[in-house]
Symmetry: D3
Subunit: 133 residues, 6 copies
Amino acid sequence: MFTVEVRDHIMIAHSFRGEVFGPAQRLHGATFVVDAGFMADTLDDNGIVIDIGRAHEALKAILTPLSYRNLDEVPEFKGKNTTTEFLCKHVYDGLAKAARDGELGRPGRELKGLRITLSESHVARAQYEAPLW
Amino acid sequence: MFTVEVRDHIMIAHSFRGEVFGPAQRLHGATFVVDAGFMADTLDDNGIVIDIGRAHEALKAILTPLSYRNLDEVPEFKGKNTTTEFLCKHVYDGLAKAARDGELGRPGRELKGLRITLSESHVARAQYEAPLW
Amino acid sequence: MFTVEVRDHIMIAHSFRGEVFGPAQRLHGATFVVDAGFMADTLDDNGIVIDIGRAHEALKAILTPLSYRNLDEVPEFKGKNTTTEFLCKHVYDGLAKAARDGELGRPGRELKGLRITLSESHVARAQYEAPLW
Amino acid sequence: MFTVEVRDHIMIAHSFRGEVFGPAQRLHGATFVVDAGFMADTLDDNGIVIDIGRAHEALKAILTPLSYRNLDEVPEFKGKNTTTEFLCKHVYDGLAKAARDGELGRPGRELKGLRITLSESHVARAQYEAPLW
Amino acid sequence: MFTVEVRDHIMIAHSFRGEVFGPAQRLHGATFVVDAGFMADTLDDNGIVIDIGRAHEALKAILTPLSYRNLDEVPEFKGKNTTTEFLCKHVYDGLAKAARDGELGRPGRELKGLRITLSESHVARAQYEAPLW
Amino acid sequence: MFTVEVRDHIMIAHSFRGEVFGPAQRLHGATFVVDAGFMADTLDDNGIVIDIGRAHEALKAILTPLSYRNLDEVPEFKGKNTTTEFLCKHVYDGLAKAARDGELGRPGRELKGLRITLSESHVARAQYEAPLW
C-alpha cells in the first residue's frame, strides 16, 4: 500500500463535558498539527498517489472552517466533545467525501483509505484510519 | 480504527550477549522515548478511546520499575537481551494486562489493540503492534 | 556558557485585540510547548547547572495556573494580548523570580540567564532570552 | 508484529513530467529522509528482528547509487517520474530482494514485510508498505 | 531579546565547485527547511515582535524565486557555491532589506536582528545571525 | 555569525554521586543526540564555514571513545559526574582542540566558536557554547 501524507494545523478553543476530563472541562484550547495520509494500491500514470499540492488544498478546505474557532460554538459539533480522536474522524469524513466524489484527481475507487493523525502536544496524539470503500 | 498515543521515556543501562551486537556487548545504555498507542473501533460516550491522562498513568506504571535501572540486574529479564524490540513487547504485555483487566476505563473488549514504539535515537526505533483479543 | 533546558506544555484558550491579528481576534486556542533554558558560566560541585528534576518542577509551577485556562479571564493578563512572545516573557518573569530568590538550588548569582521558547505549531514559535542580573 | 526501523537520507536532483506537477516540472531537488522498517512476527534467539547495524548498512547500500545524483540521468529511472512514492517503492524493492536472498541475517521467511517512508519536507512524506511473501 | 520564528521550505537543485565537496560536486539537490527569526528588544502595542502572518509572507517572498529551481542557473548566484550557509545569508539579506525598509509592520529601528536557519537533513543545518543596524 | 551544525549520537551507561540526583544515583544510561555547531564570521572561498563531511568526522572522532561505554569506568572521567552539561563541555574541549590545531580545514583563527548541544530525551537537553579564542 502506498500512502502520501501532508501536514497542516489549526488553533482552536473548546471545553469538554464529563468528569473524566478533569481540568479540561474548563474552556481551554489546542494547536492540532494534522497529518492526512491518502492511500492507494497503485500509482497513477504520473507516478503519484495524488498530487501533494492538491492533498494540501483538500486538507486546508476541511480545516479552514475550524481554524481560529471556539469549537463549542460550531453548530455541527453541538452536544459533542470535540476530542482529538473525534476531530480525527471529522477530518476523515470530510476528506473521505472529497475522495469518493472524485475531487482529489484520482478516478473511481483508486484511493483505498485515509489515515488522519492529530498531534495535540509533544506527548499526545490521536489517529483515525479506515478504508474508503 | 481509532488510536490514542501518549509519550514518556526511560533512561537505562544494559548489555547484550551475542556477537551480532559488536560493541553493544559492552555495558552501555539508552534513553528510550516510548509511545503507547491504544486502539478501539469506536469512541465511548465521552468521545474518547481512553482518557489521555489515564493512558499516561498506565504507561508510567509500566515504565517506573525500569527507570534509572541497569536492566542486566532486573530478575524478570534474566537471560534475555533487553533489545529495543524486546522492550516494546514488555511494555505491550504490561499495558495489555491492564487493558484486559479493565483498568483503563474502557469496559469489556472495547480496546482492540496496542501499538508500542521505542525510539532509541534519532536514527533507530522499534515497534510492537498486536490485537488484544 | 552552559544551558540546561527542559520541556513542558500548556493548552489554553484566548483571543487577541487588534486588526493585525485577523481571524485570531476570535476566541481560539493553542498548545504551547514550552522550553525553559537555565544558563550558568560554571557547573556546581555536582557537575550540573541546576538539577533537571528541579528545573521541570520550577517550570511546572509557572505553567500550572495557566493550564487548561481561557487566558482572557486570567486577571493578571487583563488588557493584554497573551501572544506567544508575551507568554515567553511571563514564563521568564516567573522563573527569574525563582532563580533570584535562590529557589532553584543554585546559590547567589550563579545562574546568569534564562531562555524561554514557546512553540505554537510546527511552523511558528517565539523566544525570550535575557540575563538575570 | 515487530518492526525495527532505521533512518538515513539522500540529496538528489530531478524533474517531473506532467502538468499536475506545476513548478515541479522544472529541474529542482530534494532531501529525502528515509525510514526503513523491517517486520517480523517473532524475535530471533538474540532477541532482535534484525541487527540495527546491518539494517543501516542494507539501507545505505540501496541509497548510495542515488546519493548526490540527478535522478533524471539514472538509466534505471528512464521514462519514470521519480516521485516520493515511486522512490519508496524503489527502496522497498531493493531491501525486499536483500531480505528474500537471506542477506539480512534472518533465515528463510522470518522477515514478513517492509515499510519504507520518505519525508521530503516538514509537511509532506510518502510511504510504501507490503508483505515480503 | 524577543524572537519570533516562522518556518517554510524550498526544494532546489544545485552543484558545488571545489574538491572539498566530493560527490556533492555532481548536480544534486536539497529540501531546505527554513526558519526565520525576527528579533526585537520590546513588544509593540499589540504585544508582538511582528505579526506571524506577515513574517510568513515576508519569508515566502524571499523563497519563491528559488523554489523548484536549479540554483546553478539563477543569474544572481553565478560563480557562487549555493551552500546551506550561503543561502542562510541570502535569506538574511532579503529579510534584512524588508525590515530596514519598514515593510514588516514595525517602524524605525525596532527590529534589532535576524536569525536564519536552514536544515538540509535530519543531521545537518546552517545558521546566520546578525544585528540589523 | 555563521554556524554549521551536524548531528550524531552515543549510547552510554553511567551513575551519579550526590543526593540531588535521586534515582539517577543508580547505574542507568542514556542516548545523547549530539549537535556540534561550528561558528565563523565569514565563509571561506568555497562558500562554507567548514565542510559538513569533515564536521561529521571530527564529531565522530570525539564520540567514538565514549560510544557503547560505561562512563563510570572511563579513566579520564574518574571522580566526575558525567552529566549532560559536563559531556557538552567534554565534546567542546575535543572539538576546540581540533579547531585550534587547524585540523578542521579552516586556517588560523577563522573558526570563532563552538556550540555543543546534547539532547538526553524529548524533554531535556544541555548546551555549552563559547568562543574559541
